[in-house]
Symmetry: C2
């Protein structure tokens, strides 16, 4: 044993410095130009230290996004489902903005070519948000704000889909008033009573 | 003038060979590994020839997708809006499949880091499809299959959004029966009469 135990223990300050450096560099130069070398230099840690904890730059950035999202993108519960969805979706849109400088957009792009990063993106970042979303919608069902038979998988796709369709094709992420329009439509779709020709 | 006029004219056979080579190589190795050099070798044309006609590999692949889409992904009009959307969306899903080998997914990923390719993707590939989509929905409005006040921009986002949300986060592209469920919901959302509590 040539290393002291502390040298192998993940230090919180180095971890935070690494995550902060990754986010700052994405914001300055875009995810595409990010390298582990640049993150290490900015954070004042060695590349070896980074590779000990993360397998790739995508993995560093995913954890940084997760930490940022914990502070900014949780689901509120004010009792008003539409308002709460607007709040959370606005936070997601901020994470995806500005184009070509968003860490989240960079990870989404890279994961489309990288099955390992894709699995990490889905399991570590997205599944916890899906669980939060479903919890929030179940409470809305209990409170009578959402039909008890509403399909929560469809709900997720209809509520979040427009953002990623617009992101993929560079159609402009929704402004607040259009976001409201989209959420209204999605919630209307989820009401099985909302048939065109009710009997 | 050292070149014969023919040497500068874009030859249809070289063009087709280039587009076919790009699609074949994407399918075999994935867009990420595609190079202009490999396309040139497969197509039996020079790199110089390719660069004379296209600024980047993304641009070659976009044109190849456009050509493929013209044969497979147009909007039918059988008079049944839901069935026609299902047909067209199924074609889009095929273009996005399989994961990590789809040329369209590769271009979407690269365009998220490349403003020039993003503009070309939107203007050359996507805008024509949006125009087709809106034409089809206007005919449905004329035929009484869709409410005359339905917002066609919202329609586009709700109908196509789920595919790109699921693509971005590797949640699995919709199977036929789930695709039907999604289209039903989106069409229900577009009926302004479909309020939860009609008066």
């Amino acid at each position: 044993m040539t290393s002291a135990p502390n040298a192998l223990r993940r230090s919180e300050s180095s971890r935070h410095a690494t995550l902060d450096a990754a986010m700052a560099l994405c914001a300055e130069h875009g995810y595409g130009r990010l390298t582990i070398e640049a993150i290490a230099a900015r954070a004042g840690v060695s590349k070896k230290t980074i590779y000990r904890w993360w397998p790739s730059k995508g993995s560093v950035v995913l954890e940084a996004i997760y930490e940022m999202g914990r502070q900014t993108a949780n689901f509120p519960d004010t009792g008003d489902l539409q308002a709460d969805l607007h709040t959370q979706l606005s936070a997601v849109i901020r994470l995806l903005t500005p184009p070509y400088r968003s860490a989240l957009t960079g990870v989404i792009a890279e994961a489309l070519n990288d099955p390992d990063l894709a699995a990490e993106l889905r399991e570590s970042l997205i599944r916890p948000y899906i669980a939060q979303f479903e919890d929030r919608l179940r409470r809305a069902q209990e409170q009578g704000q959402l039909h008890p038979d509403a399909d929560l998988t469809v709900a997720l796709d209809l509520v979040y889909g427009p953002i990623y369709h617009r992101l993929a094709f560079h159609l402009g992420l929704p402004e607040p008033s259009y976001l409201d329009t989209l959420i209204e439509h999605a919630l209307r779709a989820l009401a099985p009573g909302g048939r065109q020709a009710p009997t």
